[in-house]
Amino acid sequence: MAQLIKNQTTTVDAWKTLEVGSDETPETLALPPGDIIFPLAVWQARRAEIIAGHKRIGLFLHAGDPLTAIAGDLDYFIVIAIDFPKFVDGRAYSMASLLRQRYHYEGELRAVGDVLHDQLFYMQRVGFDSYALKDGKNAAFAAGSGFTPFSDSYQSASDQPQPHFRRRPA
């Protein structure tokens, strides 16, 4: 069970992520009740059913999933989880930037998968605000120091829309 970091502290995760088994299809699998993070394919196949049966809806995106597919649906989601298949796969950084800056998604944006201490700073900057740290890693230490290796940044990003050069004292 991954450990969830939120607001720079460890916390209990109320959400369950639905997985489509190898003998199931998005069209036919049973939709469990409760706070569920649905894979994109299930959301696309069962949208109306999910909206009717769930007050709180989460969405799971793989790195590389097209955001245009859900651009009009963002208001439905309390949480969007984006998967890092490997921590060196950086596509989720651009996806998060686009969700926050282009599509103005304001719900929880969660990093899941190969999520490690040394990438938390970058994840926070592009707009993630919860982090399912990889199993076996020191979540308390990561929550305490992983977000603050640097006290400022040059570039604009989701967490700071103004680049440093526009924030200089006149």
């Binding site: 921590f87 060196v88 796969d89 596509r91 640097f150 940044s153 103004q162 680049p163």
Partner: protein, 557 residues
């Protein structure tokens, strides 16, 4: 040159602390080797054949004497007393201990230096022309915008885990000296209708698949540099291949989509970013540009040197035209015959630092040809400098000549290499040790890489040499006709590879063809373009067949 502001100092110091903690966690097992690898690479730290290698950034090749003295101290304290300048204007140390690297980074931070993003799949050191700001053919000084790009790319949160490494070069001169056609992004500063901007090239690169870049946009006003680069990088980050490291560079994406479709994606993305907060302000440009003002030149006139031959040869080859009358840019050659190209001892670093202080406003530059440049030298000071440079092995007058070889460290040091490159460079230098003969051969660029990654830029050498591994033996493939500059192109393979022992003769045979065929004053590359590869091929391999026949006869006898 640029001097750190409060934020620059703060970030570099924080990086030292961060890396110190990462090394600690790796040593204690909290970080696995796989988790630590990208972190150390983004600090320029490789694990190599004999010891780790640490690559230190020299942003756009600019350095001051204080920094060079610090590198001398690092070379003495943590290495074996020398360093190696690279073809991306950086410096590498081949013998530090991993445990010492945080301490080395702390030393560097004291003099406004670092090893940030000198490796890894991120935006690398921004490179430019070593004569930026002083070149006689300069249109616009590229350094302020190179520094603005450096800051923007440092710890960029969205682009620190790209599919593969990403290299940007800027040129502000009529003749391109920054190899812009062979970078992931190449930028040509230019004026159009009174406005300053860039021609943007994309998708060039050497390595396994050498490709000349293509024009992505004919003119981009300078204010939009960062937003436009962001658009390019975002398209690449999302769509570049991640399934195969050999096909992960942006050049492969550009080839796969075609330049028009790639440009459409970039322009569509840029439409959204254009005029956003990352648009560079006039105030920021001026703040940075103020660091690159002209030094306090004296009013002097051109100086007529003595006709002493050795001195005159050195002037002919190793000085370049300057914007100011009475001044030159002087290249101190790190291509002394028998010494690894680009290698520099701690003593030489200190001597160059002294020369820079005394004769060139305390600043110097590193070229992608792996030499050191004193950019603002009064012509009347040249005799005094020549004496000191000569006494210290820094005055070999072979800039742009056959033995001024560009060469990677190769199999002697580098883990990636398939073959050693330094012994081949040394054997060629030994074979062509006669200066008069070298001057007669004239302009000829010989580039050697120890493997397909092409750090020695063999593809763009007039003569290129690539080390290959055939059944665990070292062989060398020769290309002819590559060139850098405005007409940059990739060389053609002459034929089957040669053994190391055959290399000096092979080069000699290539030179024979050139000398026999050249028209008056025609340089090697022009003769090659005129007569093509066939005469070279015939002569080189004819000799080889004879040798092989002789060998078989001897063996049969």
């Amino acid at each position: 040159m640029y001097q750190y502001d409060a934020i620059d100092t703060q970030l570099v110091n924080e990086r030292v602390a961060q890396f110190r903690d990462q090394v600690r966690r790796w040593k204690s097992g909290e970080l696995t080797d796989d988790e630590f690898r990208p972190l150390r690479l983004q600090n320029g730290l490789y694990l190599q054949r004999h010891a780790p290698m640490l690559r230190i950034a020299v942003p756009y090749g600019m350095m001051n004497s204080t920094q060079l003295r610090k590198l001398a101290l690092i070379a003495r304290t943590y290495d074996k007393g020398y360093g190696h300048f690279t073809t991306r204007q950086n410096i590498q140390f081949n013998w530090p201990k991993i445990e010492d690297v945080p301490e080395i980074l702390a030393h560097l931070a004291e003099v406004e230096m670092h090893a940030i993003q000198t490796s890894g799949n991120c935006i690398r050191n921004i490179t430019t022309d070593q004569f930026a700001g002083i070149a006689a053919d300069e249109v616009i000084d590229p350094r302020p915008l190179a520094e603005i790009l450096r800051q923007w790319s440092t710890f960029h949160p969205e682009f620190s885990f790209l599919p593969r490494k990403f290299k940007i070069a800027i040129s502000g001169t009529r003749e391109d000296r920054a190899l812009t056609w062979f970078h992931d992004i190449g930028l040509h500063l230019q004026e159009r209708d009174g406005e300053t901007g860039f021609r943007v090239l994309v998708g060039g690169g050497l390595g396994r698949t050498p490709i000349r870049g293509q024009i992505l946009r004919e003119f981009l006003p300078w204010q939009h540099l960062l937003t436009y680069c962001e658009a390019i990088l975002r398209v690449y980050n999302l769509e570049g291949r991640r399934d195969n490291a050999y096909k992960a560079r942006i050049k492969i994406l550009v080839q796969a989509l075609g330049i028009e479709a790639f440009a459409e994606r970039v322009e569509a993305e840029w439409e959204q970013l254009k005029d956003g907060p990352a648009t560079i302000t006039q105030a920021e440009f001026e703040r940075v540009a103020a660091h690159f003002g002209k030094p306090a030149y004296e009013a002097v006139v051109d100086f007529a040197p003595t006709a002493e031959k050795g001195f005159k040869n050195w002037l002919d080859r190793n000085t370049s035209a300057h914007q100011r009358p009475g001044y030159v840019a002087l290249t101190l050659s790190l291509k002394k015959h028998g010494v690894a190209p680009g290698d520099i001892s701690a003593e030489q670093m200190e001597i160059i630092a002294d020369l820079a202080d005394q004769y060139s406003f305390g600043e110097l530059r590193i070229s992608h040809e792996q030499n050191v440049i004193l950019a603002d030298v009064k012509q009347s000071d040249l005799p005094a400098i020549w004496k000191i440079a000569r006494e210290n092995g820094l005055a070999t007058p072979n800039l742009g000549l056959l033995t001024g070889i560009i060469c990677c460290p190769g199999g002697d040091f580098c883990d990636l290499a398939n073959a050693r490159s330094l012994p081949v460079a040394s054997a060629i230098q030994e074979r062509f040790d006669d200066l008069d003969y070298l001057f007669d051969i004239g302009d000829l660029e010989l580039n050697i890489s120890g493997c397909i990654n092409a750090c020695g830029h063999h593809h763009v050498g007039h003569i290129g040499v690539l080390g290959v591994d055939k059944n665990d033996a070292e062989f060398y493939q020769v290309t002819l006709g590559g060139r850098q500059g405005n007409q940059a192109q990739v060389g053609k393979v002459i034929g089957p590879a040669f053994s190391a022992a055959e290399m000096p003769d092979t080069i000699a045979r290539i030179i024979d063809v050139y000398l026999a065929q050249r028209h008056a004053d025609e340089v090697f590359i022009d003769t090659f373009d005129r007569i093509g590869i066939t005469p070279f091929k015939e002569h080189v391999y004819a000799a080889r067949t004879q040798v092989n026949k002789k060998q078989s006869l001897l063996e049969a006898a």
